[in-house]
């Protein structure tokens, strides 16, 4: 690492934990995207990464840049707010499109849980 930032010990431990937790949540969500059986189950997996994984990584980034620079860093919060608003809208529209295509194609919907 080539930057000259110096962080206090607790901030570094907390940021490391948040980074590891967020990336593991994203990986688990994408594992669900790959492993689940049908489309409606696969909609649920990656939201883990899009909500909590994103939130943890944004918190780690905010912590690191707030401790390194002077003054709080608020630029990542913009990303968090925007993604929290847009991810459910995308999922909802995709689910409606998939339902429409299923019905138009005269295919049987997969059974519920």
């Amino acid at each position: 690492m080539t930057n000259g930032m110096t962080l206090p010990m607790w901030a570094e431990i907390l940021a490391s934990l948040l980074l590891v937790a967020g990336s593991l949540l994203t990986l688990i969500g994408c594992l669900g995207l790959w492993r689940f059986k049908n489309f409606y189950q696969r909609l649920h997996g990656p939201t883990l990464g899009a909500t909590m994984g994103m939130l943890f990584i944004v918190l780690a980034s905010t912590l690191v840049f707030s401790m390194a620079d002077e003054g709080p860093a608020v630029y990542e919060v913009l990303i968090a707010v925007f993604l929290t608003m847009t991810a459910p809208a995308t999922t909802l529209m995709l689910a409606r499109a998939a339902l429409y295509r299923h019905r138009r194609g005269r295919q049987d919907l997969p059974p519920g849980p």
């Binding site: 690492m1 080539t2 930057n3 000259g4 930032m5 110096t6 962080l7 570094e12 431990i13 940021a15 490391s16 934990l17 980074l19 590891v20 967020g22 990336s23 593991l24 994203t26 990986l27 969500g29 994408c30 594992l31 995207l33 790959w34 489309f39 696969r42 909609l43 990656p46 990464g49 899009a50 994984g53 994103m54 990584i57 944004v58 780690a60 980034s61 690191v64 840049f65 390194a68 860093a73 630029y75 990542e76 913009l78 990303i79 925007f82 993604l83 847009t86 991810a87 809208a89 995308t90 529209m93 995709l94 409606r96 499109a97 998939a98 429409y100 295509r101």
Partner: protein, 92 residues
């Protein structure tokens, strides 16, 4: 900044890279069109997370603009593709 945050960000980058690989496999394999659109959607979210982690790792704030741009354009493209699957045209 010494070792711990460097190792944590490296591990985080590797995890997100594997997640992007899984999303790309779903994008290539997906039996129907909506599976491919969902794979693309998750791929841009993972790309944005990877840019944030790279910003932490290098200590540079230049990655944030790229992350915001990817978030905006990815949302618009996902909504446009979902509208296209729903109606057959993007703007009605």
């Amino acid at each position: 900044m010494n070792g711990m945050l460097a190792w944590a960000s490296l591990f985080s980058l590797l995890c997100i890279a594997v997640a992007m690989l899984l999303a790309a496999l779903r994008l290539l394999k997906g039996p129907a069109a909506q599976d491919r659109v969902q794979g693309l959607d998750i791929l841009y979210v993972c790309t944005m997370l990877m840019l944030l982690v790279l910003g932490v790792r290098t200590g540079s704030t230049a990655y944030f603009e790229a992350a915001v741009t990817i978030a905006l354009l990815g949302f618009v493209s996902s909504v446009a593709l979902a509208k296209f699957l729903l109606r057959g045209e993007v703007i009605e």
